[in-house]
Point group: C2
Chain length 129, copies 2
């Protein structure tokens, strides 16, 4: 799986890393039990500091996406990612809220917005970008 970073983005690159790995899991490109590169090798590969990778891994671990075996290294959670709980749903709503408010102001219809969502769901089910 290849990682694409935008160093000009406002999103911090450790967050971009987190997002890309979660995307990889979502589109089954990263399978449960599959190994991830070590912090040092991944950092070297994409030309960033190992602490930046470590910060991303730390967050992914804390959110249950990956496990760290002392033996096997970094591994996609073999039991799958923890199901959504109430905290997660609240987090989604909190992120969705300003997007939808802006859309309403700019005359984007509910139908169009939902069409966009469905399209993204398809993107992840299928193997597209």
């Amino acid at each position: 799986m290849l990682i694409q970073l935008d160093f000009e983005s406002n999103d911090p690159i450790y967050q971009q890393l987190v997002d890309q790995i979660i995307e990889g899991i979502a589109r089954k490109e990263l399978q449960p039990g599959e190994g991830l590169p070590s912090v040092r090798s991944l950092a070297a590969d994409i030309g960033i500091n190992l602490h930046t990778v470590n910060k991303a891994y730390k967050q992914l671990k804390q959110e249950g996406y990956i496990l760290i075996h002392r033996q096997k290294g970094v591994v996609i959670n073999p039991d799958g990612v923890p199901k959504a709980d109430e905290d997660f749903r609240q987090r989604i709503e909190k992120s969705l809220r300003p997007l939808i408010a802006e859309s309403i102001c700019r005359d984007v219809s509910e139908e169009e917005f939902i069409k966009q969502c469905k399209q993204l769901f398809e993107t992840f089910k299928g193997g597209n970008t």
Copy 2:
């Protein structure tokens, strides 16, 4: 219209201000042509610095939500907010993408996600929280 800020949030408070005003416009609580408090009085009301308010107003102005008449002060754009363009739609997709990827990983169905979206659209159409 009352402003509710969370000073413990990770979101900067100028951004919270922007979001709340956009929400106010979305739910027609703030009408086109309606005046907003001056940077100084709003800052004093919510107990923050005038520059923080000014930063929020500046962003709202740049995105076309408000106008600044030298006479009338700060005013909700009387011509309405500019319609969504391609840049806006890309911004929405970019924000939506990680939310949907996470949702898929955590077994939130497309139906449930869309239900959440519809609920938020209703929230703004109606007068609810």
